[in-house]
């Protein structure tokens, strides 16, 4: 069988299940003789699997909406119900903001974004205050790392580590103890050659929620500078990585830190 009778379009079609049995056989015979094409097809199939895992089917039944009949007769409560639902949602958000995202409201607000946002705000605020401090940015310097870790771990009641970010070009400057709405918190500060500082904020988790990972931007109080922040939490601790580095760099750092701590 000649190579030329299978083209790239057919390989795509094979991966996407668009071929009939006979065509599949032909492509498979071709792939058996062409390891490079087979590797490519395997990668595409892995991409498909990832996309399917990322976006699973709805876990709820999807019902048809009600619409007006042709003769204009109104089928009633569809619009009012939607409007009602919207006003309930607005109320829920209002209440959630007013009460600082009280636990009870979680099902209504669909996630604990309010709580998360509060923590991230505190991490950003602490970053803004201490990262710009040239005289005494940290309480204990990176040269006394063991002492720093021991002290902060004791205060948080949870074993901490300062992730090694030298591969990413960041040296540990040191750390300090902070107070946060969820109790004592630790802040580790890092600096690269260019003098860019990032901070890693850690405090105890409330409840044992599964890991999540999110990104948020905030602004310096005077609006002079924007900082980005990655937030995640595991069973024991919640973390935020804050810095005025570009999102992609911060992302790389956050992933490195996440891996080092997991």
């Amino acid at each position: 069988m000649s190579k030329s009778d299978i083209d790239e379009a057919q390989l795509h079609a094979y991966v996407d299940g668009q071929l009939d049995a006979a065509e599949c056989d032909r492509v498979e015979a071709f792939l058996a003789e062409n390891p490079e094409a087979a590797a490519l097809v395997a990668e595409w199939a892995a991409q498909n699997a990832a996309i399917q895992a990322l976006f699973p089917a709805a876990d709820h039944a999807i019902s048809l909406p009600f619409v007006e009949d042709r003769d204009g007769a109104h089928q009633g409560w569809h619009v009012p119900l939607r409007a009602l639902a919207a006003s309930v949602a607005i109320l829920a958000v209002g209440v959630a903001l007013g009460w600082g995202g009280h636990q009870v409201l979680r099902p209504i607000t669909a996630s604990s974004d309010v709580v998360v946002a509060g923590l991230v705000d505190q991490a950003i605020a602490a970053h803004v205050v201490f990262a710009s401090d040239t005289v005494r940015p940290v309480e204990i310097g990176g040269q006394d790392e063991a002492q720093l870790i021991k002290w902060l771990s004791n205060r948080l009641g949870q074993k901490l580590t300062a992730p090694d970010l030298r591969v990413q070009g960041y040296e540990l400057v040191g750390g300090r103890l902070l107070s946060s709405s969820s109790g004592p918190a630790a802040q580790f500060m890092y600096e690269n050659d260019a003098g860019t500082r990032i901070t890693v904020f850690a405090s105890r988790s409330q409840g044992s929620r599964m890991a999540e990972f999110s990104y948020q931007r905030g602004t310096f109080a005077d609006g002079s500078k924007e900082v980005g922040s990655f937030y995640w939490q595991d069973e024991d601790l919640q973390y935020a990585v804050v810095g005025d580095a570009p999102r992609e760099d911060l992302n790389q750092l956050a992933v490195a830190i996440y891996r080092a701590l997991s």
């Binding site: 996407d16 996309i51 895992a53 990322l54 909406p65 996630s111």
Partner: protein, 174 residues
């Protein structure tokens, strides 16, 4: 009329999945599919009985998305990791989750036209011909966008840092 509703109903799960992938938000996906179905019910007289219903619905959905949602879903938002729906039972699963997050970002960075094609082909449950119809492009364009999307994803995934054993990395400094 009844038949139309039955067919429409049968298409809703795939429509929802495509909508979810486009806007990465379950609530937005719900709204988008409801809007789309509502419009389809109102405009069913316009539907040509000979053709398959799904490409027509996909086209409606896509137009709604382009008009209403795309700008909103571009804004940086807090996206909970739990929306990525893989059970993080073990560290291995967390690693897998990160790889998925990386894939999600790579998909997000694709140009709109390539992303729309790739997601429709993978999640829409349509033939290439139907996808081309829904997206209003010739078959050749569909295939080249699909090819470019997949090549770009490969490129992005090749940039992913190599998996490291967490323990090793953690104390490797000393």
């Amino acid at each position: 009329m009844k038949q139309f509703q039955t067919q429409l109903q049968a298409c809703l799960p795939d429509l929802w999945r495509y909508a979810f992938a486009l806007c990465r938000d379950r609530t937005l996906a719900d709204d988008l599919v409801q809007d789309c179905a509502e419009r389809a019910l109102r405009k069913q007289a316009l539907w040509q009985q000979e053709g398959a219903l799904k490409p027509w619905l996909m086209k409606l959905l896509l137009n709604l998305y382009r008009n209403q949602i795309r700008h909103q879903s571009r804004r940086p938002r807090l996206v909970a990791m739990e929306d990525l729906t893989v059970e993080p039972a073990a560290i291995e699963a967390l690693e897998g989750k990160l790889a998925l997050a990386q894939t999600a970002r790579a998909i997000q960075e694709l140009p709109d036209d390539q992303r729309e094609v790739l997601l429709m082909v993978v999640l829409g449950g349509v033939s290439y011909k139907q996808a081309a119809e829904a997206l209003d492009v010739p078959m050749g364009t569909l295939m080249s966008r699909l090819g470019r999307a997949r090549a770009k994803l490969r490129e992005r995934m090749a940039d992913t840092p190599q998996k490291q054993t967490p323990q090793k990395q953690k104390r490797g400094r000393r």
